[in-house]
Amino acid sequence: MKTIRQIARIACAVALLAAAASMTARAQDAPSGDAANGKRLYLADGCFTCHGRAGQGGAYNGPAPRLAQTIMPFDGFKGQIRNPVNDMPAFSDANLSDKDIADIFAFVRSLPGPRSAKDIAILNN
């Protein structure tokens, strides 16, 4: 049986491999999704409770990562929803179909990502 640390190491390796992929490849990986329906699901199914309505990230038992403009490939995104590596709830197809996940993925990819902090004066105190 895998320990949490082993799982975490595997997850890190997956994430690193994913990060190495090009943006083009990620775009090609992602199925077409309905961002409007994804937004509805994101709010109704409670994704926002940990990750924020703007996809800015937040916290559950530990940090919940930012999702706006995520660079995670779709397969990794879906894998995290179906079989998370941390305390995130696992959403089976009883709650979210593959199509629903694709729609949510389209939504979070559509959210504005970070801006330059230098452009916001009060962040530079």
Partner: protein, 645 residues
């Protein structure tokens, strides 16, 4: 029987009626005018015959029972409190300690100053927040039965937080002295029993001498590390009645206990382990109990040039110090020697835990890493409540107060540091400093996401607040669950700029404890502010009235996510685990329909209120107005409707 009652009632009514008539006639009869028309014939008014009580008053000799006294036990009790330098006595008034209450007002001229609270939970939480800023306890008093039951949650928080609070509860020990009715309901054989599992000590003095000794002892026990709340039962007879032998009463002398330092040999061994380590790290929680604590920890960390991961139970380490690695917890897994100082949850800090169907845990430390602990927490534990946490294997376990022991440890480290080690340490410190700067820049970038969103992001909320208070002599004394932005973005440098959290995670702490901290800050002229959740706010909104009544300046920002949000998330996790509907988990976890208007609640208590603020552009001006109110000496609430986290 019925007839007798009627007859008796009739007689009494007749007596009152007659008396009333006489009285009324005397009061309202106009002056008799010379030309007044002749009056109609008047009935022959007669007062009823006096009843037995009236007859007794008029005919019997005065009672031998004394009606006045020239001394009271309460006076001595107030003197004892003042001898200990206790500044404030937070109370919700109650007849079982009316003797002490009156004595504090009249005998000692409202010293300790009475702080009127509308709930005992507020009074104890205020004392908890006060002690963490002022470095000494204040007192609270309540009914020993019904009031103490209200106070218990706050006492548990203080216990878990290792904070000294003096709690006094009125009682009537002798059964034959209790009046019928409520005094029986409000008396007990052992009223301290319900708080004994989360107090360091309690007693029920049976004489004034006993009271003096026990109160000074309680103070000493409460303020000796590991600190904690104590309880003293106040017998009403002792408080109210004359002092039997004033000449024999003495106030016991208090001498504070010098906190214990770790064993010299163990400290030397710890220094050797830290010096030899390639990647040592310090983890800490409640190190700083005086202003010297933070400085002592900085000196040690700089001597080693090692990272510090601060769980922020106190103001332990400056947030922007290059060695502050609190948001880089992966360093724990790289460390070969870990020095854990005054840790509350040591096992939890050093462990990965999975909140899944099968609850698994695994060390976050690397294999072979050595663990040194230094602290006083385990010197006093109790059995029932499990706040001591899970067992953690330790290689060198040093009993002693960390703050008091750090100078010796630092000196030992310096003695063992040669030039080669100094060079290696400096290189290590530079890497950590670079990582720290990168972490800050990353935090700033993270904070920009959703910057203009409504509900307002917590990052924007905190940035707007800091922009307006950063040039004040600020002290932030409360926060919401997992609100990390202040520690990620603000520049904490002074010992009073932070005072930790509830300790026991008992909801209802934040508003009154922040107010207690503000009370301590008031005389120092500091600008006190706190963030608090809406759920927490609703447990003790009455604290705002105390803030207004006593003019305690504080800027209180309600992070209004309209939910008990942690529970909301837990319910979604439960439904998802069970493969059931996740869309209805707002039932029982949210505070909406209707939304609560916290600014209006505040104004209703005489507190400046702003909000609810939903547009981030409105937040800055609202804060400006609220800060002006606070700087004029008032409390102010700003209701910010935020995204959940």
């Amino acid at each position: 029987m019925s007839k007798c009652r009627q007859s008796s009632a009739s007689s009494r009514r007749s007596f009152l009626k007659g008396a009333g008539l006489v009285g009324a006639a005397a009061a309202v009869a106009p002056p008799v005018a010379a030309d007044a028309a002749p009056a109609a014939p008047q009935p022959d008014l007669k007062a009823a015959l006096p009843g037995p009580t009236q007859t007794a008053v008029e005919t019997l000799s005065p009672s031998n029972d004394p009606a006045n006294q020239t001394s009271s036990g309460g006076d001595y009790m107030a003197d004892v409190l003042n001898s200990l330098g206790i500044e404030y006595l937070a109370i919700n008034c109650a007849s079982s300690y009316r003797g002490l209450h009156e004595a504090v007002i009249n005998h000692s001229n409202n010293k300790p100053e009475i702080i009127t609270c509308v709930h005992e939970d507020i009074a104890v939480h205020m004392a908890q927040g006060y002690a963490k800023i002022e470095g000494k306890p204040m007192a609270m008093a309540c009914h020993g039965v019904v009031g103490l039951q209200h106070a218990t949650m706050a006492m548990y928080n203080a216990w878990c937080d290792r904070v000294p609070v003096l709690v006094f509860g009125g009682n009537i020990i002798e059964a034959d002295k209790r009046a019928p009715g409520a005094e029986w309901l409000h008396s007990g054989v052992d009223i301290g029993q319900i708080v004994r599992e989360f107090t360091k000590w309690d007693d029920q003095p049976a004489s004034l001498t006993h009271f003096g000794e026990s109160t000074v002892r309680a103070y000493k026990i409460a303020t000796t590390p590991p600190m904690g709340p104590v309880f003293i039962a106040l017998d009403a007879e002792l408080q109210e009645n004359p002092i039997p032998d004033p000449e024999s009463l003495r106030i016991p002398k208090f001498a504070p206990v010098i906190p214990p330092q770790g064993d010299a040999g163990a400290i030397a061994e710890a220094a050797k382990m830290l010096i030899e380590a390639q990647n040592p790290i310090i983890v800490c929680d409640r190190v700083a109990r005086t202003p010297a604590g933070m400085a002592n920890l900085v000196t040690l960390a700089e001597a080693l040039q090692c990272g510090v991961i601060d769980n922020a139970g106190r103001m332990n380490f400056p947030s922007r110090h290059p060695l502050n690695q609190s948001f880089r917890r992966a360093l724990i897994g790289q460390a070969d020697v870990i020095l854990a100082l005054e840790m509350n949850d040591l096992w939890g800090t050093l462990t990965h835990f999975s909140d899944r169907i099968v609850r698994r845990s695994a060390p976050a430390t690397k294999s072979g890493a050595k663990l040194i602990t230094l602290g006083s927490r385990d010197l006093f534990l109790k059995s029932n409540y499990q706040d001591f946490g899970r067992w953690q294997n330790i290689d060198l376990d040093i009993a002693g107060d960390a703050e008091a022991s750090l100078p010796a440890l630092t000196e030992a480290v310096k003695r063992l540091t040669d030039d080669a080690k100094r060079s290696a340490f400096d290189a290590r410190g530079k890497k950590l400093a670079a990582a720290h700067l990168a972490m800050i820049e990353q935090s700033k970038t993270d904070a920009t996401v959703g910057w203009d969103a409504s509900p307002i992001t917590t990052a924007r909320m905190c940035a707007e607040v800091y922009a307006q208070i950063k040039n004040e002599d600020w002290s932030v004394v409360g926060t919401t669950i997992r609100l990390s932005w202040p520690h990620r973005l603000w520049d904490f440098t002074r010992p009073y700029q932070w005072n930790g959290s509830s300790g026991g995670a008992g909801v209802g702490y934040n508003l009154p404890a922040s107010l207690g901290a503000a009370l301590a800050n008031k005389k120092h002229g500091r600008f006190t502010l706190a963030f608090g959740g809406d759920g927490d706010f609703m447990f003790n909104p009455g604290a705002l009235w105390t803030a207004a009544h006593h003019q305690i300046p504080i800027l209180y920002i309600v992070q209004n996510n309209r939910a008990y949000h942690q529970e909301y998330m837990y319910l979604i996790a439960m439904a998802a685990r069970h493969g059931r509907d996740v869309t209805k988990m707002d039932i029982g976890t949210t505070l909406k329909d209707p939304n609560i208007d916290y600014a209006t609640v505040a104004r209703g208590m005489g507190v400046h209120g702003e909000g609810p603020i939903t547009d981030p552009k409105d937040l800055g001006p609202a804060l400006t107005r609220a800060i002006a109110a606070v700087k004029s000496g008032q409390p102010a609430v700003v209701d910010v409707v935020t995204d959940p986290r």
